[in-house]
Amino acid sequence: MAHKVALIRGDGVGPELVGAVETVFKAANVNIDWVEVEAGLKCVEAGKPIVPEETIAQIKELGIGLKAPMTTPIGKGSVSPNVTLRKKLDLYACVRPVYSLPGVKTPFDGLDIVIFRENTEDLYAQIEYMATPTVAHSVKLISEFGCERIIRAAFEYARKNGRKKVVGVHKANIMKIGDGLFLKTFNRIKEEYPEIEAWDNIVDNQCMQLVTRWKIYDVLVMPNLYGDIVSDLAAGMMGGLGVAPGANYGTKCALFEAVHGSAPKYTGMNKVNPMALLLSGTLMLEHLGENEAKANIEGALRATLEKGIKTYDLGGDATTSGFAEAIASELK
């Protein structure tokens, strides 16, 4: 039976990237019934919200979606479609695996880390004010509930996937109340997972250690702002946003996405690397229980890279569709 999955084709290069994923999934004989839902610039141009309520409702009903990059319109009152989806679907866990890939040269051989970023609180709760004409005030909202569920998700992931170490990342030496609550919660929950080595680290030190001692890290969990920054740092260590996948999980829904932008200047040029969306798609397959298809696609991708077939961002000259077809041919 086909898996029904909501699909947002996105803005800019989004539709081209989705086309590449469709090519590869078809070659892998993955039985997906894509249900296209509206979001992004087209909605705004039609006078609708950037993420219409019908789209939220449809993703909720299906419980799963794949999202290509979307553009946040510039201007007062504009909201990010990505943050809107995370908030409205309560997708509290942003999971960003980063790992070394053949043919993607970086100084970080042997990289294999999974980052858990809390996705709904912290300074992203959108509670900001001008308190006086010259003073801005942003509320950093950290709840025990929000900390507990992301920290537990990280430990559960580690337990399920045979990961040995979980590190809680914070700045509790300075923000003793907000990050202190995160740290206190981390220290409480880690006691429930005695088989997993767990310790905490201050975010600035963690950034330094990521680029000097990356091989000792396994799973990292952190509040929203640090997660936003550290996960992009880690994506760079993997080879850039063009290759790094992303997933957002809630209790009832999961949404898989490439975390890079919609690259409007490349629209229609058949140029941009589809790997990030494709690998997000394989995370989606894992979520659907299609582990064999996931392994097959990732194997075909590695074989393609090993042959030196790459898009421009990795030093190659393959087009978006050409790269997808090369992967597809490995699957046949």
Binding site: E53, I56, K60, K76, G77, V79, V83, T84, K87, K88, L89, D90, T120, E121, Y124, A125, Q126, I127, E128, Y129, M130, A131, T132, P133, H137, L141, S143, F145, G146, K252
Partner: protein, 99 residues
């Protein structure tokens, strides 16, 4: 900078049943964890015991009017833990909108 309303953060496990109108103010929204839950449709999400009630007035209001509104909320039995006055600068809201 002109005064137009107030955000009242209330310590309550339930979404508070606060007045929709009071004096010059209208209840613009209630949010929880930065996400709007009133007016609906409210997302299906776990709520914290710290809802925020935003009251606004299109016209400029006085600080005394804000005090009266906050006292009204207190008199209804709600325990607020934080209030933030809402200003406009050159006619533009100097406060963020929830999702």
């Amino acid at each position: 900078m002109t005064l137009h309303g107030v955000d009242i953060f209330i310590w309550s496990a339930e979404t508070p049943d606060v007045p929709k109108e009071f004096g010059p103010f209208t209840l613009d929204l209630i949010s929880n964890r930065g996400t709007r839950i009133y007016p609906g449709p409210a997302p299906e999400m776990d709520l914290l015991d710290w809802p925020r009630c935003r009251y606004l007035c299109e016209e400029e209001v006085t600080h005394d009017q804000i005090d009266e509104l906050v006292n009204k909320i207190t008199s209804l039995g709600y325990r607020w833990t934080k209030c933030q006055k809402l200003f406009r600068i050159d006619g533009v809201n100097a406060f963020s909108q929830p999702y």
